[in-house]
Symmetry: C2
Subunit: 246 residues, 2 copies
């Protein structure tokens, strides 16, 4: 028996999310169906965390156990030939039996893409949030400095969460333009339910002048979801990379 770690990428636009839901098309469901067929028994996979419907992954990490005698490089080819077009296996490696894709996460990077063109862009409708309104980038960057560090992020978390401890550490927030898009980049030790989308929604309200950069402190302290901005839509969000100890 060996444990395989896989870095996968998926276009979330035609999935009801990462996690299996009865009767819906999910990333986990597609991969488990293929693995179970290969193993002729039910095989479960474990991811670094869920992603919501229409959210993308540039580098999601999963693990699973197998007793099939297939070399790693063959695993990648075999799975890619069976996976649907919107999921791709980027790297497959054998890991220690104690490795766990979720419990061993050290940090995660998310990116959020915004299309700034005046016109809607038909080619990015599933891949970026169209937000053509005026934004003060300097104010958004100033607001971001108040979010970096260790905070109770209750105000930036969907009320639907079941997690009790809402303290997380954000290491980095970058806001930059690339390929005609505005990109928000977040690196942290963990992110709560909808946290990145609420952070982006709040930073956009700062950029619009509706929230002052310094008010971020009071929003964090209030521990009240309604104080923060709206939840930005899912199609702009990418789980970019998951970091582990070597």
């Amino acid at each position: 028996m060996k444990r395989l770690k896989c870095v996968i990428s998926y276009d979330g636009s035609q999935f009801a999310g990462y996690q299996v839901q009865p009767g819906k098309r999910t990333v986990q469901g597609e991969i488990e169906t293929i693995l179970s067929r290969m193993h002729k028994k039910k095989v479960g996979i474990y991811a670094s965390g869920r992603t919501d419907a229409h959210v993308h992954a540039h580098g999601q990490v999963i693990h699973f156990d197998t007793d099939l005698n297939i070399p790693c490089d063959k695993w990648k080819k075999a799975l890619n030939s069976m996976l649907p077009d919107d999921i791709v296996m980027k790297y497959v490696s054998e890991v220690d039996e104690h490795f766990h894709a979720r419990f061993n996460v050290k940090a995660k990077e998310y990116r959020y893409h915004i299309c700034r063109n005046e016109n809607r862009n038909p080619f990015t409708r599933y891949y970026a949030y169209h937000y053509p309104y005026k934004l003060d980038y300097m104010k958004m960057k100033e607001a971001a400095t108040h979010l970096i560090g260790t905070h109770d992020f209750t105000s930036f978390c969907s009320a639907k969460t079941e997690v009790e401890d809402k303290v997380r550490t954000i290491y980095e927030i970058d806001i930059y333009e690339g390929n005609d898009q505005l990109v928000f980049r977040f690196v942290g030790n963990g992110f709560l339910y909808n946290m990145v989308r609420i952070l982006v929604g709040t930073l956009l309200e700062v950029g619009q002048g509706k929230i002052k950069p310094v008010e971020i402190k009071a929003i964090l302290e209030s521990r009240a979801r309604p104080k923060a901005g709206k939840t930005a839509p899912p199609q702009g969000l990418y789980l970019w990379e998951v970091f582990y100890d070597n």
Copy 2:
């Protein structure tokens, strides 16, 4: 009565093509339905030419006549608010009653995008042709020089065409890398049915060493479709721009 010229862009992946076909979703069908509803009568549109199923447009041009008293800038907003997400109206201008989107075309630019990554890229599966194989770019560029100019392009035209005169002039062919993709750019006075896709398919075979650059001359002279390369798939193709006299 006034005539409006519109530059439109569309993501072809969810269309059966530009031209109306009974029971199928087409670009022309979507636009005519909206215009006919606005005018409370059947309104027809005229395009610079058709595009096939799954082929995209960065700048297709259409015209139509209207007796509605709406200023140009309002037309763009109104149509964009009613059009589906995969079609966008980029520019609307009033033109002379003699302007015709098809008959007045002076030149057209097409681009063909190829994804060169070893891995499939789920995000470009509808927007580029995945071709990870080895290519000799210099040989492709040399072959392109033999295609530039005025030639009978029978060998580079689908047998399904009804057009009799197959002489066309290609002004420019550029082959370059941008945004992680290989791009073929063609400018000419007109292109036959499937011509750009057959040109690309043939240039790829040159890049692979299956056809020598100098053999392009003999392929043109043979006037025989089977002498040229395969037809490249539709998802990499973009009608990029249509040129008219001012």
